[in-house]
């Protein structure tokens, strides 16, 4: 039963605290991704679970067993790295059955499991090839088959698709999820690709500065991000700075730059509080000319970008703020040109107000 529990785990590298009093509970059979910017501690977290690094404080449990003092081999986890890490002098078959052979499993069991895994990753016919004869996607499927043949029930994946072409990555992530489900494994998958995380996870752990910023299902994180950071990192949003003017039963009236009034569904903030209002790019509506109404803001088209599946317009509002609107190409009914006078609007229930971040908005939005 590979559930994984981290209790108050801290890991420091000299002055840098990579993991900071982190608590996390992953259920048996769950597919969890760890998402965060560079330096947030994602890989350290995975290595702590694998036993490749030891925590300075805290306890790590796999199943119900405390594993702090167990070596990586004794923890019985499968580990897949970004750079495939196959043995170059071994064939596909020798690579895949490496684990069972060094563990002296009986040959019959090893052989049948090896073939089963190769069949699953659809590379049985390449069993005699050497890694350098295979494409990147194939090598990564072999690395996965090798991790699985070792008989582990807990799979740790560190950017497993990171070295692959973008289009291929999209294809392989569906496969990966299917393998894990079919075999009833628990998977912990580190990525910095939020779309990848959204597509394959039961739950996403958003990591920042070695701490868990938020844990939840993709829908939860997307619809109810707890902080400006999460709203920005999972999905994309426009952020408007403002001051709360008035509060009613479930709404706040906020004045943004240029004294423009907006209305937001909100019960947590008080009069005169400084806030940041977040609205998802795709929840912004664009109309030609000046149209008045609640949360209708005027501006001019400043930038147009075509991204295939979607179109993006940057609009410079009359208060100088810049708003990005994103709409699916297939549902674009009206085209706009550079310099066009437009109205941007959003529904009060599509906007979320956050307290102004202590270290400033720019710092909160920084991901690099």
């Amino acid at each position: 039963m590979p559930e994984v529990k981290l209790v108050n785990v801290t890991k420091r590298y000299k002055k840098i605290t990579a993991i900071d009093h982190l608590n996390l509970h992953i259920q048996d059979g769950e597919y969890v991704t760890i998402l965060g910017p560079t330096g947030s501690g994602k890989t350290t977290l995975l290595r702590l679970i694998a036993g490749l690094v030891k925590p300075d404080e805290g306890a790590i449990y796999i199943g119900s067993k405390l594993v702090n003092d167990l070596s990586p081999e004794e923890r019985d986890v499968g580990y897949v790295f970004q750079n495939f890490a196959l043995f170059p002098h071994l064939t596909v078959w020798q690579n895949v059955t490496f684990g069972p052979r060094v563990k002296y499993w009986n040959r019959e069991r090893t052989t049948s499991l090896g073939w089963e895994m190769l069949e699953m990753v659809r590379l049985a016919e390449r069993a005699n090839a050497y890694p350098h004869e295979l494409s990147g996607g194939m090598q990564q499927r072999i690395a996965l088959a090798r991790a699985l043949t070792a008989g582990t029930k807990l799979l740790l994946l560190d950017e497993p698709l990171g070295a692959l072409d973008a289009r291929l990555r999209v294809e392989l992530r569906y496969e990966l999820k299917k393998f894990v489900n079919d075999l009833g494994l628990t998977a912990i998958h580190v990525t910095h690709d939020q779309e990848e995380a959204m597509t394959i996870s039961d739950r996403i752990v958003v990591l920042r500065w070695g701490r868990v910023e938020q844990v939840g299902s993709p829908v939860e994180l997307y619809l109810e991000p707890k902080s400006v950071f999460v709203a920005n990192f999972v999905g994309e949003a426009n952020f408007l700075e403002g001051i709360v003017e008035e509060v009613s039963k479930n709404k706040a009236s906020i004045k943004i730059r240029g004294d423009l009034p907006i209305s937001v569904l909100d019960v947590t903030h008080q009069k005169e509080e400084r806030v940041v209002v977040a609205v998802r790019l795709e929840n912004m509506v664009l109309k030609a000319g000046e149209v008045t109404g609640i949360n209708h803001l005027f501006g001019r088209i400043k930038k147009i970008r075509f991204l295939g599946i979607s179109m993006r317009y940057d609009i410079q509002l009359d208060n100088e703020d810049i708003i990005t609107v994103k709409m699916p190409t297939a549902h674009v009914t009206q085209r706009f040109d550079m310099g066009d006078r437009v109205t941007v609007s959003f529904a009060p229930e599509k906007a979320v107000a956050y307290s102004y971040p202590i270290e400033g908005l720019a710092k909160e939005l920084s991901v690099g």
Binding site: P37, T38, S135, G136, G137, M138, D165, A166, R167, L168, V170, E171, H192, D193, Q194, E195, M198, T199, P218, V219, Y222, F233, G235, R280, L281, E282, N283, R305, F306, L307, G308, I309, S310, K326, P328, T329, A330, H331, A347, E349, K350, V367, G368
Partner: protein, 368 residues
């Protein structure tokens, strides 16, 4: 004025044909990207233009001048390769201003540009740092800066943003295009990232196995791809096999598996032709229940994934085929449940019709 022309370029490595009689012309001040899966020959093309490798056959022209025998340093190109090549013994500032200094260019102007660039990539404070003190991503930014300030009018970029985090990459690509345009340069940019190509290119060249498959503006390639490979490689599409049964007034009628009839706006195919039709998931709409209508296909929802701005459904049609549908997240709209009986529908204008590929559909769609 750096326009670039390749005439009948062929390059072989042993049995592998990296460039197969490639013909190509790039206009002065154009921003062109080459897109394709790994091993398609995109890097070979850029290296041939740079003069780093020589073609087996064919001619390379820069500004109407044949440059086959001109060494790289005399071709007047600035280039950034995947494996960053900064001068290890020079600090960031000296690296960035190297080109203008050795070429005795106007230093006031190039220093100003260098400073602006370093500001932009947020490395001004690291001006005195040596390459080994910087991360891979930082080194890549410095290498790009150096190419931009080199005084060359033709910029060759091989995955210049490849080593960066996804979010940072998305931010920097716009800056890269803006600088190239502001400076009036011609840019030739190799990438495997579809979205990157869409966002920054005047034209995109799609390559596969050493050949140019398709060239066009981003919108053309997305909305009217001329090839099955192009439709699959840029964006996503549902592909269904069928046969033309009738030439209607507005386009041919195609019969799919199970006798389903699809109206298209295609005017090029003839009765009896074996064809593949392609429809992007974002151009398919869903209604609950069975609605007999033009191009209305009945089925049952088999899979659902919330992806933020839209929800992806996979519908098992009554003929056994699966069709993917991307439904934009509308305000207050309920998601459809698994097993719901639905009609999926698309307009005839949004159906692309292709001649059935000689080597079969699967081979045509293969990414590796």
């Amino acid at each position: 004025m750096p326009d670039v022309k390749l005439v009948n370029i062929t390059k072989k490595y042993g049995k592998v044909v990296a460039a197969d009689a490639v013909n190509l012309q790039i206009q002065d001040k154009e921003y062109v990207t080459i897109l394709g899966p790994s091993g398609c020959g995109k890097t070979t093309i850029i290296k041939i233009i740079a003069g780093v490798i020589n073609p087996d056959e064919g001619e390379v022209y820069i500004n109407d001048k044949k440059v086959n025998d001109v060494p790289p340093e005399d071709r007047g190109v600035g280039y950034v390769f995947q494996n960053i090549v900064l001068f290890p013994n020079m600090n960031v500032w000296d690296n960035v201003t190297y080109g203008p200094r050795v070429k005795n260019l106007n230093l006031t102007q190039s220093n100003k540009l260098a400073r602006e660039m370093l500001d932009l990539i947020r490395l001004t404070v690291r001006s005195d740092a040596y390459p080994y003190e910087l991360s891979g991503g930082m080194q890549q930014k410095v290498a790009t800066t150096r190419a931009l300030t080199s005084g060359a009018n033709l910029l060759l970029l091989d995955e210049p943003l490849g080593a960066l985090d996804a979010r940072v990459r998305a931010e920097l690509r716009h800056e890269l295009r803006r600088l190239v345009k502001d400076l009036g340069l011609t840019a030739f940019h190799v990438t495997h990232d579809q979205e990157e190509a869409m966002a920054i290119s005047d034209r995109i060249i799609i390559m596969k196995k050493g050949r140019i498959i398709e060239i066009g503006a981003p919108e053309e390639l997305y909305i009217r791809p001329k090839t099955i490979f192009g439709a699959n490689f840029i964006g996503e599409a549902n592909f269904m096999e069928g046969r033309v049964t009738k030439i209607g007034e507005n386009g041919v009628e195609v019969e799919l598996r199970g006798g389903l009839i699809i109206q298209t706006s295609d005017k090029y195919h003839k009765t009896g032709d074996k064809v593949v039709i392609a429809v992007r998931p974002d151009y398919v709409t869903l209604e609950t229940g069975e609605k007999p209508e033009l191009n209305g296909l009945f089925g049952r929802i088999e899979k659902r994934q919330f992806l933020g701005g839209f929800t992806r459904y996979e519908v098992r049609l009554d003929n056994g085929d699966i069709i993917a549908v991307h439904a934009p997240s509308e305000l207050g709209e309920k998601l459809l449940d698994i097993n719901t009986r639905v009609t999926s529908h698309f307009d005839p204008e949004n159906v692309l019709v292709y001649t059935y590929p000689g080597e079969g559909l699967k081979t045509e769609l293969a990414l590796e």
